[in-house]
């Protein structure tokens, strides 16, 4: 008997894509211009999510070619993920409020923040 599904898998995927894009627009328009470079490298790291797909394709063993393509994808996607998050972190750590400017307040050096 037919399940009572509203959406075919294709339509569900499309709905997911559209809704996620809306969330993306909402969230990302609030990122200030100052942080646009880390935003881009950070978003870039997130697009490395293709690593998940690459692992699945590399793990499947229906064809050697497919597995090899998957492994190459795993390698490339991991560069994207690891490099992307690390370099974003490196950049974001540079953004400081007031590194005790000469005439500034007496707040102790690099506390917390």
């Amino acid at each position: 008997m037919m399940p009572l599904a509203l959406l075919t898998p294709e339509m569900a995927g499309l709905a997911l894509f559209v809704l996620a894009a809306f969330i993306g627009f909402e969230v990302i328009t609030k990122v200030p211009a100052t942080l646009h470079t880390p935003l881009m490298s950070g978003a870039n790291a997130i697009s490395g999510i293709i690593l998940v797909g690459a692992v699945l394709v590399a793990a499947a063993q229906e064809s050697t070619l497919g597995t090899l393509l998957g492994l190459l994808g795993v390698f490339l996607a991991t560069i994207n993920v690891v490099g992307g998050f690390l370099v974003t972190d490196r950049m974001l750590r540079m953004f400081k409020k007031k590194p005790s400017p000469p005439g500034g307040d007496a707040g102790g050096g690099g506390g917390g923040a």
């Binding site: 942080l35 881009m40 394709v57 499947a60 390698f75 690891v82 992307g84």
Partner: protein, 474 residues
């Protein structure tokens, strides 16, 4: 079955991505936001590595043979090593190149996933096959497009910064695009004919090269933002093909992000995306009527001492940094000058045009690296109201973004471009290598204002002279 667990973990990862991006709304919370994103990635990849025991659609079993796991582990370790080294070693000035490279790798990985999936099994149905083929194309052109963008930013011989054009270029690109679309349609019609997919990949690789070659180096911020968007779209399409929801969601987030940045960059240059992509801008032969450089116009050329006196006696100084600053590596000296002025009670702020660097927000990163506090960095809209009350606008290595012709000269190629109103400051000090024109090939009438002081020379040397003079005055 652990289907539901994996799906729940994917949902958690998606939520972490969204919350992570949300925290990028402020420099204070941003580092944690990035960590949340990384955590989301760890959750998604971990769930995939250790919990998936067969494919979601149940089309076939995934054999987790130990050999394969070792291979995957090796590929991950190798990729992580390369990524970490690249991330640690890169200079902040080279950040656009690195992001381009990462974009390219992500795009190629997406194309490989879509291809590899097809190598394993024939897609069920035209939609899945078509979207997967679309992923191959977007991923392929993201890869080669990023490689060319890297070459242009790096200033290599094989991909020169200037627009590379040849006859019938647009027609050739349109033909390639049509061919790529045709491949998708034919493949969707018959998913067993993998040859169409291979042809689609080849065409998209060529298209990526040919589409970016005619775009000038100064337009690379737009190109990188757009390729960033493409890498997300490619991941989404590949995820659609292998029916994996986390790929679809994360790819859509990145696609949206890249698109927003692309729009911001285009607006900042007052040009349409089509104009950026297809007009081979920046050749210098725009043939626009140059603002009269008549013999009556003269430039006031001053010494560093004059400028230092003006700066140290000001109450408020707004610095306008341009890419010339980064080229000359003058940002550290500039910050030193800012410190000296602030110690004397001068308010120092930095007005940053969206296209000041080689990618969106690039100049902010360069200044942050030089320890300029982020609350002194103003964007276009924040900065402009302050120029009228500023005693000095100190322009370092910027040109077109402070050219008043953009406001009033309808014949100027940059007319309509939003600019920083540096000309409204009481005094303008302009550090420049020469009297040359900017990227747009337009002369800057700001040079000729009575209240403009020109200081010619290398930006770093000039700023260092200013530092020395300002110290002497202290």
């Amino acid at each position: 079955m652990n289907f539901d667990l994996v799906a729940a973990l994917y949902l958690l990862a998606a939520a972490l991505f969204v919350f992570g991006l949300k925290r990028l709304a402020s420099p204070r919370t941003a580092p944690r936001g990035n960590q949340l994103g990384a955590l989301g990635m760890l959750v998604a990849v971990g769930a995939t590595l250790f919990l998936v025991d067969y494919r979601f659609d149940g089309r076939f079993w995934v054999a987790w043979s130990p050999g394969n796991l070792v291979g995957i582990g090796l590929a991950i370790a190798l990729g992580a090593g390369v990524g970490a080294v690249l991330a640690r070693r890169v200079q902040m000035t080279a950040m656009p190149q690195l992001v381009a490279v990462f974009n390219g790798f992500g795009g190629l990985a997406s194309a490989l996933v879509a291809l590899g999936d097809v190598a394993h099994v024939t897609p069920q149905g035209a939609t899945l096959a078509g979207v997967g083929a679309g992923g191959v194309i977007v991923g392929g052109l993201t890869f080669t497009g990023s490689v060319i963008a890297y070459g242009k930013l790096q200033g290599t011989a094989w991909a020169p910064s200037r627009p590379v054009t040849f006859p019938f270029q647009k027609a050739a690109n349109a033909g390639l695009l049509a061919l790529a679309v045709l491949c998708v349609v034919l493949y969707a019609g018959d998913p067993t004919a993998g040859g169409w997919l291979v042809l689609a990949l080849a065409v998209s690789l060529a298209l990526g090269v040919l589409a970016v070659l005619p775009i000038g180096g100064a337009d690379m911020p737009v190109v990188i933002a757009l390729l960033n968007s493409y890498s997300g779209v490619a991941a989404s399409a590949a995820g659609f093909a292998i029916q994996n929801e986390i790929l679809v969601v994360a790819g859509a987030l990145v696609g949206a992000s890249g698109l927003i940045l692309t729009a911001i960059m285009c607006k900042a240059m007052n040009r349409s995306l089509a104009n950026v992509l297809f007009s081979a801008f920046g050749t210098g032969d725009t043939g626009a009527p140059q603002a009269a450089t008549g013999p009556g116009r003269s430039v006031r050329n001053y010494t560093a001492e004059d400028a230092a006196i003006l700066l140290t006696n000001a109450r408020s100084v707004i610095v306008v940094p341009g890419y010339g600053l980064a080229v000359a590596q003058a940002q550290h000296s500039l910050r030193e000058l800012g410190d000296i002025l602030q110690a004397r009670g001068v308010t120092v702020r930095y007005a940053i045009h969206p296209v000041a660097g080689r990618m969106p927000g690039h100049m902010n990163v360069l200044l942050a690296e030089a320890n300029v506090p982020y609350d002194q960095l103003l964007d276009l809209d924040q900065a402009n109201p302050h120029f009228e009350s500023a005693d000095v606008a100190l322009i370092v290595g910027a040109n077109d973004v402070v050219n008043p012709a953009a406001r009033h000269d309808t014949t100027s190629p940059i007319y309509g471009m939003p600019i920083l109103d540096a000309d409204k400051a009481r005094n303008v000090i302009m550090l420049k290598r020469s009297l040359g024109s900017g990227f747009a090939g337009v002369e800057n009438e700001l040079f000729f204002l009575d209240r403009t002081m020109m200081l010619f020379g290398d930006a770093r040397q000039t700023v260092q002279k200013l530092v020395a003079e300002a110290k002497a005055l202290a």
